[in-house]
Structure formats: C-alpha cells, structure tokens
C-alpha cells in the first residue's frame, strides 16, 4: 500500500486542484462579473444617423454617431417610427417621412423584431416537431394530436395511442421522396408554438444540403425544394412569422452571411443583409426594423456593430461600432488566473469542460505564489519543496489551495 501511496496522493491532489481550478474562478466571477452595458441604438429615419442612448448616467446620454448631443424631446422627435405612440399623443407625429406617407397599419405590420444568439443553435433538440395545418378552417391554429420525427424517414406518432400513424407517415414520406428529399435529414427548423399568428411549417436541410419547405395544407403534404443559389450553404434557419408575410425567416450560411428567405411568385428568393459575416457560434444578432429602415446590431465578444439597412433592399446606409468596456472579471482573471476551468459556455446550452487561457501576465501571480508556497512549506525536505514550487508555478492559486488542503495535516508523514 505504501508503494502506491505516492501515486494515489498525486491523483487526489490533481482531483482537488481540478475542483479548485473551477471553483475559485467561479467564486471570483460571481463577485465581479457584470454585463457589457452597450447603448441602445436606433437609426433615425429623419436625421439619417444612428442614434445612441447610453445607460451609464453620463450627461451626453443621447447622441448620434457624429457626436451631436440630443435633448429628450429632440431624441423622441428624431425617432418618429420608434416613438410613434408618444409623438401621436403629443400631436407631434409627422404625416410623412421623405415624402412617404405614414400609415399606422403599415407601420405596425412592417415591424420586425428578431434576435439570434448561439444558444438558439447550440442546444439539445429532442427531434420531435408539431405539424400544424397551414390553412386552418378556424382563425386559430389547432393541435394536430400527433408529433413527427424527421431523421432517416418521416414518421407521425399519434399521442393517444403512442403508435406511428402509418397512413399519414407514408403520405408525407412519399411526398418527400417525390420532391427529391434525400434522407437522413441534417436539421429541421420551425416554430412549434401554437400561439404564432400563422403557420408556415418547417424548413429542413436534407442529406445533400438542399433546403426544403415542408408544411401541411388542407391535410396534405406541401413539400418544395427552395433551390437556393449553390453558393449558399445553409447553416441555420430561424422561422419568423412577420405580420406582413414578406418573408419566411432568417437564413444563415456556413460563411456567416445573413439572409431573409422570401416567397417570390411560387419560388423562393434570398435577400442578403448588407452586414459583415457573423460568427454563428459566438455572435449575437438583433434586428429592430420599421417600414423604412432596419437597425441591425451584432455583438461579438469584443465589440458591438450597428448597421442601418434600407428595409426594401437591405442595403447598408449607415454603420457604427462600439468597443466593449473591459469587464472587471476579465481584468481580474487576466491578473490572477493564467488559465481556469468552466463547465458552461455562454454560447452553448451543453455542459462540457473548457479550459480558458487569459493573459500571459497572469503567470507573474503564479511565480509569486510559488515563492510563497516555499515559505509556507519551508519545513519540508528540498525534494518536496521543488515539487511544491513547480506545482504551484503550474497551477497557481488552485494548486496552492490543493496543496494546503491535502498537505496541511501530514507534515511528518505526507508522501510529498
């Protein structure tokens, strides 16, 4: 037993170090982490500039992308399509902008609010979907009473009996094969919520990278290959039931380009958003649009980009960007932890170990801790001191804490 004691001690020490490598930074993070407080930005359809609303209590909280400061009243007046209600109550709502009459109904139906984040993509999916009737007889959508799976084939499972509805499954399977759908499916995306304003079914990427539109119309399958441009390799689709039914949703390709997928006389058409490619596994995208312009914000780890696009063409008319302020947590971690362990990633719903390396300067802390460890364990033999010094140099605070936990009581008989 004595022979193996040293190796088991190392095993236990490594275990305690690993726990500390996660636990100590997690505690420090809880005490110091704050959200990046980016300003709210909206494109002014009258001033033709991006307007910023800052939240850090500074005096020039309302300003535009050229630095001009606005009063509350000027700010409201410069964003008539955002402050529509307030301006109408005050009797200050303009009748038209750039000669285009403002129709309250059009203002409402052309509003777009969309948000994409890596969590939408990197999340466990049970692989079951609900096929609603896209042309319902009643105004509201009704639950079909079954779910479907779409992987190696399409199967509808009846909820009451928990058995496959063979007839319906075969009907859809035949229609999919007839439309050229190649199994197995890569992914399927749609909105399962029954409270959506209308149903457009699903968009599904087949084994050959072709994007298909799948829905149920009058109880029968409606399946169509969207026949996208071969340059576009779809990576993610987000269904968005916009009120004016201009488009089906947002499509992102593997290069990070963003598109809307429109209906075009029985065919499908993509219109690319004139923004820089985004990193689908790390960046967040937010769109607030009105009938004249869309304001698109793309937040990366280091900065936030703001684009104003023309609603009709989605061509860029204005651009600005704001750098992230240094977060207190990043500042501290860059000084005391050369590396640390997390199990959660803000870009994914999956739990997995991630080793984060911070700044090279943090190794200075480890050097100081290594010296300190030699003072703490000065009674140990030289051989043990070398081990303790090197161990603390590598693992820093976590290593020292582990040594203190595992070595404190064994001054005489500890193996190391």
């Amino acid at each position: 037993m004595m022979k193996n004691k040293e190796s088991i001690y190392i095993l236990v020490l490594l275990f305690v170090t690993l726990v500390a490598l996660w636990g100590i930074p997690e505690l420090v993070k809880t005490a110091t982490y704050s959200n990046d407080r980016y300003p709210f930005v909206y494109f002014s359809s009258t001033e033709k500039k991006l307007l910023f609303k800052e939240f850090d209590g500074r005096e020039d909280a309302l300003h535009d992308d050229e630095g001009k400061v606005y009063t509350d009243k000027e700010y409201d007046a410069a964003l008539p399509l955002l402050n529509f209600r307030q301006l109408t109550v005050n009797g200050e709502m303009p009748d038209s902008i750039d000669g285009i009459a403002i129709d309250p109904r059009e203002l409402r139906v052309k509003q777009v609010n969309f948000r994409y984040g890596p969590l939408n993509k990197n999340t466990p999916n049970p692989g079951l979907y609900i096929m609603y009737e896209s042309l319902p007889k009643k105004a509201k959508l009704e639950s079909p009473g079954d779910l479907f799976r779409l992987k190696n084939k399409i199967e509808f499972i009846d909820a009451a009996s928990n058995r496959v509805n063979k007839q319906k499954s075969e009907q859809f399977q035949t229609a999919l094969l007839k439309a050229g759908y190649a199994f197995p499916a890569q992914w399927t995306s749609g909105n399962l919520n029954i409270r959506k304003p209308y149903d457009e079914g699903y968009f599904s990427l087949d084994a050959q990278g072709q994007l298909y539109h799948i829905k149920m119309v009058n109880g029968r399958p409606f399946i169509k290959n969207t026949q996208l441009d071969s340059q576009i390799e779809p990576a993610f689709f987000a269904m968005e039931e916009v009120a004016d039914k201009r488009f089906y949703g947002f499509l992102f390709d593997k290069k990070g380009n963003s598109y809307i997928l429109e209906e075009d006389g029985g065919k499908y058409k993509t219109v690319q958003l004139d923004i820089d490619p985004i990193h689908l596994d790390a960046d967040e995208l937010m769109i607030i649009g009105n009938f004249l312009y869309w304001t698109v914000a793309v937040q990366t780890d280091k900065e936030k980009h703001f684009y104003a696009l023309q609603t009709e063409t989605l061509k860029r008319v204005r651009y600005a960007f704001v750098e992230a302020k240094v977060n207190k947590w990043e500042d501290i971690s860059g000084k005391i932890f050369p590396f640390y362990l997390t199990f959660r990633d803000k870009h994914s719903e999956y739990i997995a170990p991630h080793l984060h390396f911070t700044a090279f300067t943090a190794w200075i802390a480890n050097v100081l801790l290594a010296v300190l460890s030699l003072f703490i364990f000065h009674r140990k033999s030289n051989k043990k001191k070398i081990f303790i010094g090197i161990y603390t140099l590598i693992f820093g605070i976590a290593g020292l804490v582990a040594l203190l936990i595992m070595g404190s009581s064994t001054s005489r008989k500890s193996p190391l």
């Binding site: 275990f15 609900i130 779910l147 799976r149 009581s409």
Partner: protein, 222 residues
C-alpha cells in the same frame, strides 16, 4: 475469507439497502402517479407538446435520491469501522489490505449501482408506454448525471469516512461537495451529453481515494 468479509458488509448495510429500496420504489410509484395526474389534467397531447417545446424531464423527484443513497450506504459501511478503531482489526485479517478495501468498495459500488440500474430501466420502460422514444431518451439523458452522482457520492463519502484525522476529514469534505455539484449543474435535458464521459471518469478516479485514507490510517496518523 472474501465470503465472510462480504457477509460482514451485508450485515452492516442490509437494513439500509432495504430502506433505500423502499424509498426508490415509493418515489418511483409517486413519479408515475404525478405523470398520470398530468395526463388526466392536461391531456396526453398537451403533455407531449409541452415536453418537446419546453423540457421533457418527467422525473424531477429522482434528482438527489441516488446521491443520498450513495452517502447513506457509505456511512453505514464505514462509520462502524471507525468506532473503536474496528478498521484496524479488519485490516489485520489474513488478506492483503488492498484486497480487503477493494472488496469493501466493490461491495458498496455494486450495491448502489444495483439499486440504480434496477430503477432506471423501470422508469424508462414505464415512460415508454405513453411517450415516444425521443422523450424517453431525453429523460435518460436527464437522469444520467443524477444517477452517476450515486456511485460518486458513495466513493467520496468512503474517502471522507476512512480518513483518520478529523481536521483532514473536514478538508476532504470541501472538494468532495464541490465535485458532487458537477453532477447537478443546471442544464436542459440532453445538455449533459458531452459531459457524461468526464463524470464517469470522475467516478473511476474517486474509486482510488479511499486507499489514500486507509494508508494514512495504517501509518497511525491521528
């Protein structure tokens, strides 16, 4: 000799194992009663749709049960050994002391695993009667880290219990509790999938911890 050793472990733990079996059975029955209640109140269609849109987890009652079973079994097995230093006698049996501890640990791990491995298929097969395989699979993924916490908690408690010195015992509890929290991080069903192999590795590594405690005991650390 092994037979007598195993019999000794059985005498120490049989009442506890029986209690745990009754608790697992009771909570299992209660879980299915809750699922049936939801089916009656919401309807099976609604329940299916909620499961795929929100979270398919159907057995929240089992979250801390395996953990509790692991801790309880280790306490029943090792606390009596520490009273009046009985462990000294056990380690003086005409058998290699590593083999003695190995036998005791194996007994405990197999007892915990048997309880869990009998429960798991019953829960999943029962769920499969009214739910499609995707929802059953999602529940398996949800239960997997909770059930792995059972053997992990047993081995970590054994490590703590067999430690001869009180001060060190308390120091061992701290990383032990933190390590057990790895099994209960907030996640959607299926979110633990990439992490499960690491949890299994943690259980395997934890198997050796108790050997360090008994080596210290043998050395006469107090």
């Amino acid at each position: 000799m092994y037979k007598s050793l195993l019999y000794k472990e059985w005498i120490k733990t049989r009442s506890g194992i029986a209690c745990l079996a009754v608790i697992f059975l009771g909570v299992g029955i209660y879980s299915f009663m809750k699922i049936n209640e939801s089916i009656r109140l919401l309807g099976i269609v609604n329940l299916w749709e909620t499961a795929v849109q929100k979270d398919p987890a159907m057995f929240p009652q089992f979250k801390y049960l395996p953990l509790l079973a692991g801790i309880l079994l280790a306490i029943m097995q090792y606390v009596p050994e520490l009273q009046f230093k009985r462990l000294k006698l056990t380690l003086h049996l005409p058998l290699n002391e590593n083999k003695i501890l190995l036998t005791m640990l194996f007994y405990g791990v197999i007892a915990v695993l048997s309880l869990l491995l009998i429960t798991l298929p019953i829960l999943l097969l029962g769920l499969g009667q009214r739910f499609p395989s995707e929802i059953v699979w999602a529940n398996f993924q949800q239960l997997a880290p909770w059930f792995l916490a059972g053997p992990a908690a047993y081995l970590i408690t054994a490590w703590v219990c067999l430690e001869p010195q009180w001060k060190q015992r308390i120091l061992n509890i701290i990383p032990g509790i933190i390590a057990l929290s790895f099994f209960f991080l907030r996640a959607k069903s299926g979110g633990y999938q990439p992490f499960d192999p690491y949890l299994i590795l943690l259980v395997i590594v934890a198997f050796f911890f108790a050997f360090y405690s008994t080596a210290r005991f043998k050395e006469g650390v107090q």
